[in-house]
């Protein structure tokens, strides 16, 4: 049973169809990525799931085991979270927890736990107006989590951050996914690959590919070898192209990426290739092609 499921969901703004015929289902306990380029309709989809926007078509079903207003079971971090700058981080978390229905005492306990979780325990008493972007983003995640929702929905949680902030938030998400279901959107494949279990790739308002990360990797990833040589491998490449186990290759000066269909056969062949040894190997690495190619193909 999925936690939240949409069927033929659609949203039209005047003459643009931001989302159409969208079928999405989020498993309980999983971390699900909604991946797509800018303008794919991710934010619009998440806004409909949280109830901030009304769908023009289709339905949204939350797990029937949880009855009543589904906002009770959701936590949400908007793409551009905006706080009351005059509150302190701690006050905001208590405010959010109490709004979600926690009694005052529990709200306080939960707020201080959250501050610790996101590493802001020392800044909890400071006004939010003085926080950095990364701190605000982490506070945003904390306010989504503070009432222990069944599902947290994060809209581009790492897009606006610098590399350090990005790393912090991704690590936080990895820790969270052990005890909460997460649905997050991103336009960066790498982020989706790093933390998610399930991926929905969206383009132009609809889902084009879906599946678990592992499935997608198994069907779309090929084994590959990454070689670096002292001499240019250009000539050697001509003979290599003829081999039946070579699927694709990419040459960048002295670096060569060879995609193959059979890892063992390719390795055995490469290692006994005399010509390759003459090129003076600097690096020989077993690698994999990423989902990048697939992603680029489906969104173009």
């Amino acid at each position: 049973m999925s936690l939240i499921e949409t069927s033929s969901l659609g949203k039209r703004f005047n003459d643009t169809e931001a989302v159409k015929q969208l079928n999405l289902s989020v498993r309980e306990g999983a971390c699900t990525a909604l991946l797509g380029p800018n303008g794919a309709g991710k934010t619009t989809t998440l806004n409909m799931l949280t109830g901030l926007m009304k769908p023009t078509e289709g339905t949204i079903q939350f797990d029937a085991a949880y009855e009543g207003d589904r906002r009770n079971y959701l936590g949400y971090l908007p793409q551009y979270p905006k706080f009351f700058g005059w509150m302190s981080g701690e006050e905001y978390l208590i405010f959010a927890a109490e709004l979600a229905g926690l009694p005052k005492k529990q709200a306080k306990i939960s707020a201080s736990e959250m501050l610790e979780l996101i590493g802001l325990q020392d800044d909890g008493k400071k006004r939010i107006s003085g926080y950095s972007g990364g701190m605000k983003q982490r506070l945003g995640i904390a306010q989504a989590l503070v009432h222990s929702p069944k599902l947290i929905i994060l809209d581009e949680p790492v897009s606006a951050l610098d590399p350090i902030g990005r790393r912090e938030v991704l690590e936080l998400m990895k820790r969270l996914k052990t005890h909460t279901s997460i649905l997050f959107s991103t336009h960066v494949l790498h982020d989706a690959e790093e933390v998610s279990d399930d991926i929905f790739i969206m383009n132009k308002g609809t889902v084009v590919i879906e599946g678990s990360l592992r499935e997608l990797q198994q069907t779309h990833q090929k084994p590959a070898f990454f070689l670096e040589t002292e001499k240019s491998p250009e000539e050697w490449l001509h003979t290599l192209k003829e081999q039946d186990w070579v699927v694709d290759w990419e040459l960048d000066h002295h670096r060569l990426m060879i995609t193959v269909d059979n890892m063992e056969k390719a390795r055995a062949n490469l290692l006994k290739d005399e010509h390759l040894h003459e090129l003076k190997l600097v690096k020989f690495e077993v690698a994999k092609t990423s989902l990048e190619d697939l992603f680029m193909k489906v969104i173009s």
Binding site: K82, F83, F84, G85, W86, S129, G130
Partner: protein, 70 residues
């Protein structure tokens, strides 16, 4: 003429003092707040002048227009 100055000295202060005190409180609070803000709408030094030199209206203008909410 003498009567008037006398009258002014007698009642004037008791009556007007509360207003002056209130205006002063307002000015001080606005000034302290303005100095503490890391940003105001428009240059801060202009707001400081406005608060200091326009009686009553200055601090109020600051609270309404000068203060950033976020």
């Amino acid at each position: 003429m003498n009567e008037l100055t006398e009258a002014m000295q007698n009642i004037n202060w008791a009556l007007v003092a509360p207003i002056i005190v209130l205006q002063f409180i307002l000015m001080v609070v606005a000034l302290v707040d303005c100095l503490k803000q890391n940003q105001t709408n428009g240059p801060k030094w202009i707001w400081i002048i406005v608060i200091l030199f326009i009686n009553l209206i200055g601090p109020i203008l600051y609270f309404i227009f000068g203060r950033r909410s976020n």
